[in-house]
């Protein structure tokens, strides 16, 4: 036990540092996390309260607890499954710990606990507001708060165990092949789509009878043990059932650690087998490139060699491609079913078709505003950032190269999708140009914001790339900002287009994004470069 405690102390010493500031000297850095936390907390509380008030009308306010338990579980399982492999098997301290007289299951348990503590942030974001909303709409006693606090801590146990086992399977399978990275990315994306497919299937099944929220929460209460127990204990507290629940969750984590511990050494050895020389020849290319060109090549190489970043950022683009495909092949079917299923639908099929530029604009907004690659690009330099600092290249060029590299990765997908839609639905030239301007300006804004945030909150000392991509302040800030911008832009798109018409509406939106991009570029070229010159890895 003391070994585990010491191990945890060592692992936690730097691993949970999100917003990297020192108490006295960097007070300004506290503002962003506080503002961000307050905004997210308020938004989630308002949303949970609204749903609970609706549910309370039918006396079903406890459904909010099972519903949010399910949401947290799905998020942790999905998000955790593609990072668990890297977090468990690829931290830098592997060699050091394996050389010490520590049980492998103890190492795994310590890594799982660290992973667990971080994932509890989702409980704070989603479950805590739901608990408060419930308490505001029901009479609660001391036992409720005991159960609620326990649930906040224990709800991640099962999804984390599932995520770790999926991580184990992905690492075991990919470790057996030469192209480990490719296989890891493919398997991770497959798992992600399987989870999304499950959620959609679940939603469709429950939606058919209407009252989807109550249906989902009923299903969760019926089939998912933690949700069932949560609602049961809130309604009628039973100490025995409470203790059994705690014991089962602790046992799940412990048993998972034991199981993974059995395979730990084999997997880390196989993953480390990449450390073998593969090519022995002296046929090299010595072609010269510009500084910007060389920087972009470096960034693209890094992107395609960082599976977790690839999976993380490809999600929006993959959904965009799927949406383009569905619209191209199933547009008429979709519109007809929409007109048939919604009573008094205000538009005809032709009118819906005339709104397509706005729809595509919104789709591009969704894909590009959710794909922020630059939020990790400075942190991913790691200690090699110092090498970059010694080279005769200006900070401005480095930062702009990173933005350009990201644009090079995003634009081919979004622009191709736009062109396919233009030809399929025969857009007018002006409408096409307006959509294209937005398709370039929106990712540019996202990537400029990402790099500025990463400059403010870089993390050079992470255990591995997964920590940078999934557990850094910069990425969290960029993700929540991106989500806010998606919601804002999509509602604005439909609002303005509906009010002012297609051309004027899209022109206004383009103007907003172009001006924003120019403003952010100026910030990057001045404040950004100044900040860059002060960074040390």
């Amino acid at each position: 036990m003391s070994q585990l405690t010491s191990l945890l102390k060592a692992m936690m010493s730097g691993g949970l540092k999100l917003f990297n500031y020192q108490a006295k000297t960097e007070g300004s850095k506290r503002i962003m996390p506080l503002v961000l936390g307050a905004l997210i907390g308020m938004a989630m509380l308002v949303s949970a309260s609204t749903i609970t008030t609706e549910l309370a009308l039918d006396g079903a306010q406890s459904a909010i607890l099972s519903l949010y338990t399910l949401i947290v579980t799905m998020i942790i399982a999905m998000e955790g499954s593609y990072k668990a492999g890297d977090l468990l098997f690829k931290p830098r301290d592997n060699d050091m710990l394996l050389a010490m007289p520590i049980k492998r299951s103890t190492i795994v348990l310590a890594r799982m606990i660290k992973f667990y503590v971080f994932e509890m942030v989702y409980c704070l974001i989603f479950l805590l507001p739901a608990i408060i909303a419930y308490a505001m709409n029901a009479e609660v006693g001391m036992s409720f708060w005991l159960v609620a606090a326990t649930m906040l801590v224990l709800i991640p146990a099962i999804p984390i165990a599932v995520a770790c086992i999926i991580g184990l399977i992905i690492s075991t399978v990919s470790g057996r092949f030469k192209h480990k990275t490719f296989l890891q990315v493919t398997l991770s994306i497959a798992v992600m789509f399987a989870t999304v497919g499950f959620v959609l299937f679940f939603n469709t099944t429950t939606d058919s009878d209407g009252q989807s929220l109550v249906m989902i929460s009923n299903a969760a209460t019926e089939y998912y043990y933690p949700a069932t127990t949560f609602v049961k204990l809130v309604k009628h507290f039973d100490i025995l059932e409470y203790l059994v629940f705690v014991a089962i969750n602790l046992a799940v984590v412990g048993l998972t650690a034991l199981l993974i511990g059995r395979f730990y050494f084999k997997i880390t050895s196989r993953l480390g087998a990449a450390n073998q020389t593969e090519f022995t020849n002296n046929k090299y290319s010595f072609a010269k490139h510009s500084q910007t060109g060389a920087m972009i090549r470096k960034e693209v190489t890094k992107y395609f060699n960082t599976p977790v970043l690839l999976v993380n950022t490809a999600m929006g683009l993959v959904f965009f491609i799927m949406a383009v495909g569905i619209l191209c092949f199933k547009f008429d079917e979709l519109v007809n079913s929409m007109i048939d299923s919604v009573e008094d639908f205000p538009l005809t099929a032709d009118q819906v078709r005339s709104f397509l530029p706005g729809v595509i604009f919104a789709m591009v907004a969704f894909a590009s505003l959710l794909t922020c690659i630059t939020a990790t690009m400075i942190s991913l330099e790691g200690k090699a950032f110092n090498v970059l600092r010694t080279l005769p290249i200006s900070g401005r060029r480095v930062l702009i190269s990173k933005v350009l590299a990201s644009m090079l990765l995003i634009l081919p997908v979004t622009l191709s999708g736009c062109f396919v839609m233009f030809f399929r639905f025969q857009f007018g030239i002006l409408e096409a140009i307006l959509v294209l301007i937005g398709a370039i300006a929106m990712p540019l804004v996202t990537e400029l914001i990402g790099i500025l945030i990463n400059l403010k909150y870089p993390r050079f000392d992470a255990d591995n790339d997964t920590v940078v991509v999934r557990q850094s302040a910069s990425v969290m800030a960029a993700t929540f900002l991106g989500l806010g911008m998606v919601l804002f832009t999509i509602s604005l798109t439909f609002g303005i287009v509906f009010l002012t018409g297609q051309i004027i509406g899209l022109t206004i939106l383009d103007a907003v994004y172009v001006i924003l991009a120019l403003f952010l570029y100026l910030a990057l070229a001045t404040l950004g470069e100044e900040k860059y010159t002060k960074l040390v890895a």
């Binding site: 450390n275 090299y284 010595f286 500084q291 890094k302 200690k383 005769p392 010159t533």
Partner: protein
């Protein structure tokens, strides 16, 4: 030439460098020695433009690293004690990347890369990714990248750590050749025997302060550098 005048660097209240001043002349190999945590890496990082300093001035060939950092970096190369390179890149891609930053023409880089790769026994290894290399091989890649653009000023922090005996021997030859052609070499080391035989001048630093600087022969006299160093450490 490297000129360091009154450089002070503080971490909070602690002075990592305290009013350090000396010069490294053109055509000389200069050793910078001191105990762990004495401030060697801090000074080296300040010279290379990685780390900002609070007071003083550092000039490379007459140009200020604070005011004209890019001009200074164009004639300089830095090799760190811990070769943190871009692990996902092939070694040749990394070396080409560094050459691109310095604008090295294709023919010059081909000649230099092949020459140094052969010298360090890496001629058949450069198509592999850096993460597949041992510490010593990474250090060799860092050295090839640093030497490929023919720097006038070479700055190294413990450059011999992890190198095999032949690579150390070859590296010493390279260093002698660079200064023969008018270059300047400034490096930190804990291998005092090597510093004694290789270097023209030496500076000894302790707790951020320079305690001795001058010609190697004058400083050590009849004693070994190791003995002088230990005596100075004990005295101050």
């Amino acid at each position: 030439m490297i000129s360091i005048k009154g450089v002070t660097k503080k971490y909070g209240d602690k002075k990592a460098l305290d009013n350090v001043s000396f010069e490294v002349k053109q055509g000389e190999i200069f050793a910078f020695i001191g105990h762990n945590g004495a401030g060697k890496t801090t000074l080296i990082k300040s010279i290379c433009g990685i780390l900002d300093f609070d007071e003083g001035e550092i000039q490379i060939n007459g140009k200020s690293i604070k005011k004209e950092p890019l001009e200074c970096k164009r004639v300089m190369a830095y090799v760190s004690d811990d070769p943190e390179l871009y692990e996902d890149m092939k070694a040749i891609s990394y070396i080409n990347f560094v050459c691109d930053m310095y604008g090295v023409p294709a023919d010059v880089r081909e000649r230099n890369i092949r020459h140094y790769a052969e010298m360090f026994g890496m001629e058949n290894e450069l198509n592999n990714t850096i993460k597949s290399f041992s510490h010593g091989m990474k250090q060799k890649v860092a050295l090839i990248a640093a030497l490929a653009h023919e720097p006038k000023v070479l700055i190294m922090d413990e450059p011999f750590v992890g190198l095999d005996p032949k690579a150390i021997f070859d590296m010493k030859e390279v260093m002698r050749n660079i200064v023969k052609e008018g270059g300047t070499i400034f490096f930190s080391t804990h291998i005092l025997d090597m510093a004694e035989k290789l270097c023209d001048r030496v500076a000894i630093v302790k707790k951020g302060q320079l305690i001795k600087v001058g010609d190697m022969k004058k400083i050590k006299g009849d004693k070994s550098l190791e003995k002088v160093f230990l005596e100075l450490e004990a005295k101050q």
